[in-house]
Amino acid sequence: MSPVNLYGQVVVVPNVIARDLGGETVLLNLKTGTYFGLDSVGARLWSLIQSGSTIAAMSDALASEFDAEPSVIESDIKRLLTDMAAQGLVSLPE
């Protein structure tokens, strides 16, 4: 996984819409037809992305809400964001 800037904003790509259902979220890129399902933790991450959080702030927020090592949370966030960026759903800070 390439290095990710922890202190820049993750931006939702235009034409991506999200729907929340039962604590989970499904994303759809209207231009590419790509869709992506997020479980409850991923859905919380999505709400943080939409609020304009940096990756560092997302890590702090999730570490205070979930019982896991902060380093593990940060690593998982980076992996998920990298995956979402590869699917054309978000753009990562440079």
Binding site: V26, L38, D39
Partner: protein
């Protein structure tokens, strides 16, 4: 159901001419053959070309369809393509929700059996119909939202089956069998031994058909996320590049999943197990109806 064919105008046979712009989408069959090409022909107007069969001009604004067959195209094949491929796509372009799904009537409501080609929708529908449980359609299930309920609409009273499925499920009771010129499948008409339901019914359950990897009949509830992503992939959408259309379909599916229980259903694809699969679904639907949570 057949009234839909009144919207079809058949033109004189003509050679398929090159289209000015490239297709925005193509369907490739399982054996890697080009099955259909999709072209834009104006605002909300489309041309669907089935190579070697005919061109269909459709609109998202009205139900009328013009078909320009190639020389020698069989009229029954054109009607079959219209009813089973073109019309569901046209309905989707007009904003309707149409699933790659069969549907049968259980306890006065409909259940949807959803899956891509080859997952056993038609076989399971035929199995139900031959056992006295009427089918509404074996594919192209149109759902209409009315008073907060999704109503499954009946479609043509035929089931498309491979020869071995026809023999194993319907047997000698098939009253009329029609060939499908572009497929090895045959169409079996509904009869007293293969019941068809001609009434729209509220949908009660959605079952996504698995790949047949299960060693026994298995049903598990799907989370909303799983159900939505699986259903999106099993929806007829004509113009997948139109953001407004895609957003509308996304909302339709989200609405459906928020209202109805969705399950993954898988079972070994062995004909002798179909009665057990049917009974499992019947028991499940009936028990939920008797004991609402």
């Amino acid at each position: 159901v057949f009234g839909a064919s009144e919207h079809l105008t058949l033109h004189l046979p003509a050679k398929q001419q090159p289209v000015g712009s490239p297709p925005f989408h193509r369907w490739i069959s399982a054996d890697a053959q080009l099955f259909a090409e999709f072209f834009r022909a104006g605002p909300d107007e489309y041309l669907i070309r089935f190579p070697g069969i005919g061109d269909f001009n459709i609109s998202a604004r009205h139900p009328f369809v013009k078909v320009h067959p190639v020389e020698g195209a069989i009229q029954d094949t054109l009607l079959h393509l219209y009813l089973n491929q073109v019309r569901p796509l046209q309905l989707s372009a007009g904003g309707s929700l149409v699933l790659h799904a069969g549907a049968v009537r259980l306890s006065g409501q409909a259940i949807a059996l959803v899956g891509p080609s080859g997952r056993g929708k038609s076989s399971l529908c035929a199995s139900f119909a031959a056992s006295g449980v009427p089918f509404l359609t074996d594919d192209g299930l149109e759902l209409c939202l009315q008073d907060g309920l999704y109503f499954a609409q009946p479609h043509v009273p035929t089931v498309r089956l491979w020869e071995d499925s026809l023999t194993a499920i319907v047997g000698s009771s098939a009253t009329e069998v029609l060939p499908v010129s572009y497929s090895a499948k045959t169409r079996v008409l509904a009869s007293a031994d293969l019941l068809h339901c001609e009434q729209a019914l509220p949908l009660s359950h959605v079952f996504l058909l698995g790949a047949g990897e299960a060693t026994r009949t298995e049903i598990r509830p799907l989370s909303a996320r799983e159900a939505i992503t699986l259903l999106i992939g099993n929806t007829y959408v004509l113009d997948i590049q139109d953001p407004e259309t895609m957003a509308k379909h996304f909302d339709h599916i989200t609405g459906l999943v928020s209202k109805l229980p969705c399950f993954m259903l898988d079972y070994p694809r062995r004909y002798e197990l179909l009665p057990e699969v049917r009974q499992t679904l019947v028991n499940m639907v009936r028990s939920e109806k008797e004991c609402p949570l």
